[in-house]
């Protein structure tokens, strides 16, 4: 067993296979709670704990996957480019909404976390919680926050947004499909976008757009909030 984990192939294979199975399962169950990322993370952690393998050993294979988050972030330019006509027609609402939403997301998380006595390490890692993981990891790195912790908050935020987003928006009478999509993408990045796509084509595409723009907005806002947190 030990010699097997010494080979990065083991961690890589287990991660890919578990993800494929989780994806199949979540397609069957069709509830936002059965999120393939959440399922995979939980199952992989359980497997590692049961085999007494630590994170550093796992990462020899895991980093082969996480490396590609960088090029994947660059690739977000393509869906952004495809939404350019819609974007240019609605520049003001999009920019104002995404900037306001990104600021509120980070500020509220930090504010509530501090109010309830979360540790400084936790509060810093809460700042990039609403942006897509590759960008969140980069932001966490640049403001000196814990990357894994930040990534965990990102995934949890995505799942929360995907589960309650559309119902929450209907409750507060956000009826414009453009506004709904922007809200889902800004508040809960890619995982929220996956849910927004089920709501309709405008919601899906504008959510994807907000995911990219919110990432840029938060990159600019994060250092300021980090300074305020001290």
């Amino acid at each position: 067993m030990e010699t097997l984990w010494g080979n990065p192939l083991t961690a890589l294979t287990i991660t890919v296979v578990i993800y494929v199975l989780s994806l199949a399962l979540s397609n069957q169950i069709r509830t936002p709670l059965a999120n393939p990322i959440l399922l995979s993370v939980v199952v992989v952690i359980l497997i590692l704990s049961a085999s007494g393998v630590d994170y550093v050993t796992y990462q020899a294979g895991g980093k082969l996957l996480s490396f590609w988050l960088g090029p994947a972030t660059v690739a977000l330019a393509l869906p952004l480019y495809r939404q350019l006509p819609l974007v240019l027609k609605n520049k003001a609402p999009i920019l104002a909404a995404v900037t306001a939403g990104s600021t509120v997301a980070a500020a509220a998380a930090v504010g509530v976390g501090r109010l309830l006595g979360a540790s400084h390490e936790v509060v810093l890692a809460l700042i990039p919680k609403s942006v897509t993981t590759p960008i969140a990891i980069e932001i966490a790195h640049s403001i000196g926050a814990n990357r894994e912790l930040a990534a965990g908050f990102v995934i949890a935020t995505g799942i929360i947004g995907a589960v309650i987003g559309p119902e929450c928006l209907r409750l507060v009478r956000v009826t414009s499909p453009l506004a709904q999509g922007l809200a889902m993408g800004t508040a809960s990045h890619g995982i929220g976008t996956a849910r927004a796509i089920q709501e309709g084509p405008v919601q899906g595409s504008t959510s994807g757009l907000a995911l990219g723009l919110g990432g840029i907005a938060t990159t600019l806002i994060a250092p300021i909030i980090a300074l305020l947190v001290g």
Partner: protein, 125 residues
């Protein structure tokens, strides 16, 4: 596929270069994304050229998140100690962001000058 992968990697590298060269605070991949968007816009790069690798990576995005999420196993003690504050902070901030983004977009849309609305504009608002 190889060509499109080369383009994505080159733009990421370009982004890293900008960060190192001028102390730019924005992460390399984010700068790379903006530069690629500009390149697509001005026609320097055609969308079909980057499509093969971009599609594969964006479809696999969920899988790429998993090893990072597994990293949470190192922080069980932090999560146990701060569990309530973390859960509340995540829930409150997500609801706040949803409402503020949605309301702001809707408010701006409703205030758009009527002469710029097309005949279907009202169905959007």
């Amino acid at each position: 596929m190889i060509k499109s992968m080369g383009i994505l990697l080159s733009f990421q590298l370009l982004g890293e270069l900008v960060r190192l060269a001028i102390g730019w605070p924005i992460p390399g991949p984010v700068t790379g994304m903006v530069l690629l968007l500009l390149a697509l816009w001005v026609g320097l790069v055609r969308p079909e050229t980057v499509e093969p690798a971009a599609d594969v990576l964006l479809k696999a995005l969920g899988l790429l998140f998993v090893p990072v999420g597994v990293g949470l196993m190192q922080y069980g003690h932090i999560l146990k100690k701060n569990g309530f504050s973390i859960a509340t902070a995540l829930l409150v901030s997500t609801v706040a962001a949803l409402i503020v983004t949605g309301w702001t977009a809707q408010w701006f849309q409703s205030r758009r000058p009527p002469e710029r609305e097309n005949c279907h504009g009202n169905t959007l608002g």
